[in-house]
Symmetry: C2
């Protein structure tokens, strides 16, 4: 008797962990938190410029932007980090007008070294300012066109490991160099990531949480095909965007059966969107899981004072905005919970610092790896974004 | 013989138009573009302050923010418009530190006059600056707590008509007053909206486009339950957010059969997200419609110059960024089109001005009304956001 099959079962947690451990040997992002950062910190220490401009699209900028946006209002960095991350002419013009170009360090980031948008901006910049070793640094793979350009001008080059993809590159030079230059404590970041790494691979709390969450999402992917994040802080806006690209680009794939996977990310800001999108969650079709992200301590005491106008709402008096936003989150969570058939979870960040945002980001990177492993897809490639790029390059060449 | 039924068919375009025309008599937003704006312009003319701060959440701020964000990089307004639109203490602190509070006009907007977040911010502000007729203006419904407060201090009050909901209120005082104060040409806005209004109700091009689009979305709502917008300009970021709230809050409803509706909005920025989310569209499950929004003329010539570094990409030289972003959009559209089973459409805005953004926004308001009418839902209420608000108010009262 023979037997053949063309279907598969969702694997056990043990099999997934084994697969992830194997993957760790070829996919570079897992071990990034353990790299030595001495050379990056030394480089950053010597930066004299007030403005740091990152020229980089997608994975080359979204990670650092998520961390910088999270910290910038809290930390009064003496340097300003700005991202040229789009080809919109008005956006480029506005950002360049907001800085002193002669007091700026430019960091050009492109893994392939030939990203159309990045090189277009670099070409433009090269005629409005002389780019040299003093004001221009390159982050790319060894041997690319951009690498050769940097070598020819003796620019400082930071390497991107071949086996680290853009959307998983925050803890490589791609994220650490610009952040260190801006004044971010990158070692504290790496400590946060290491904590999650250990907790996962030593099968402690992160392992249990991520396995259970990933398994739920995969087992219920037909019913709950949309994964909403409600972030209760404006500081998480950059994280939301980073999450949307990580999730969409990693999990939007054909699986080994050739079946199109469906998980779709949505990133929202709680105190604003609970006035609108919440309606869709509460009364719309039950096709969404909801993750609430709260900040336990904003370390910012703004009190709503006593004896102020609109006596109808006097119960607000004596309450701080930190307390209010926390209560808004809890009230929304309670409303969602009361529906009973909306899957939700709540992540509470201790406070707004490097350690905590790194924990959150590394946790999501691992979560995506685990979900991808359950789904039996290639989490790390992105064939679906290539066809548009090829059409663009062909058409651009056709202009000549 | 008797007959009873508990199902319904999707109505004809003629029936929908008839229903919309009837609705126009009770739902206030349709006729807003035809209102007289003299008193708003007169008020705005006299504003001496450099900063205009809007205190308003959700529908009270997202519309004006969409228009202002669209125009601000292009128009060098002499006044700066800032939105206190969340309870995040760091966000509030940062925004207040970015202005000169003694050179600021505050505009408090709340339809109910008792929005917790809005009143909380107002209470806080009232102790850090004396709010009076010279620096504080109120937009609310007649008779609310906020209205009475304004009367007691003899503040200037602008009325919000009872039958205009927050998310449809851009063309009322809610949007027009702050925008006029910031220097936006509100009559040109209204002209754009009027153009769409006429084209729709006179059954010209807007009618045909909106009816066909709405019908497609409704007839295929089970299969394509996610509606993605890819905006090819950073200036449309505010529009994206406005769209997400309008769509989610209006269309996330139970229909007359008690069936949960499922349409979910996603707003993306093309040149950035085509590097990530596009993967999900191309290889993920076919559950999305995609609308591309392009700007025909950025009126901004930034050329990529000749003889610049990275010779591999020399085909970029001589191309402008306006051309490049346009070609990026077209290449992505071609890639999506080539898949053949992804429903898409392309809206091209002529240029970045008041007229064009108003056209776009009014078109989306009408589209949502038409879809809601096809779906047989109440497009204009939002019972699903109320339960969280009640829990919050009860808990706040419990603190005392």
């Amino acid at each position: 008797m023979e037997y053949e099959k063309g279907f598969y079962q969702i694997r056990s947690n043990e099999e997934i962990l084994k697969k992830i451990k194997l993957e760790r040997e070829s996919i570079g992002y897992y071990e990034l938190p353990f790299a030595d950062t001495t050379h990056i910190k030394e480089f950053a220490q010597d930066i004299k410029q007030k403005y740091i401009i990152v020229i980089g699209i997608g994975g080359s900028s979204l990670g650092a932007k998520a961390v910088y946006d999270f910290l910038k209002y809290k930390k009064n960095f003496s340097k300003k980090l700005i991202f040229l991350d789009t080809t919109d002419p008005i956006d480029i013009k506005d950002k360049l007008e907001s800085i002193d170009i002669n007091n700026t360090l430019f960091i050009t980031i492109s893994k392939s070294g030939s990203t159309v948008e990045t090189i277009a901006i670099l070409k433009y910049l090269s005629t409005i300012i002389e780019l040299n070793r003093d004001n221009h640094t390159i982050i790319t793979e060894v041997g690319t066109s951009l690498f050769k350009y940097a070598e020819s001008l003796n620019l400082k080059i930071f390497d991107i490991p071949k086996n680290v993809g853009g959307r998983f590159s925050l803890f490589s030079s791609v994220g650490l160099v610009p952040l260190a230059c801006a004044g971010v404590d990158i070692d504290n970041m790496l400590n946060g990531a290491k904590k999650i790494y250990r907790s996962f691979f030593e099968q402690e709390s992160s392992y249990n949480i991520l396995m259970e969450k990933a398994r739920f999402i995969v087992e219920n992917k037909q019913r709950f095909n949309i994964n909403v994040i409600f972030s209760y802080s404006s500081a998480l806006e950059g994280f939301n965007r980073w999450y949307v690209q990580l999730w969409a680009e990693s999990l939007g794939k054909l699986n080994i059966n050739g079946t199109r996977q469906a998980l779709t990310p949505v990133g929202l800001i709680g105190p604003i969107d609970q006035h609108s999108f919440l309606q869709l969650i509460m009364e719309g079709k039950r096709d969404k899981t909801v993750t609430f992200i709260k900040v336990a301590d904003f370390e910012e005491q703004i009190l709503i004072p006593e004896n102020t106008p609109i006596s109808e709402l006097n119960y607000l008096e004596g309450v701080s905005f930190s307390k209010l936003i926390d209560m808004q989150a809890d009230a929304t969570i309670k409303a969602v919970k009361d529906e009973q058939d909306i899957p939700y979870d709540v992540i509470t960040i201790d406070k707004i610092d490097e350690y905590n945002i790194a924990e959150l980001i590394f946790k999501y990177e691992l979560l995506v790896s685990v979900i991808g492993s359950f789904l039996q897809i290639d989490t790390y490639n992105q064939p679906g974004v290539e066809s548009g790029k090829i059409i663009l390059k062909d058409r651009l060449k056709g202009l000549k």
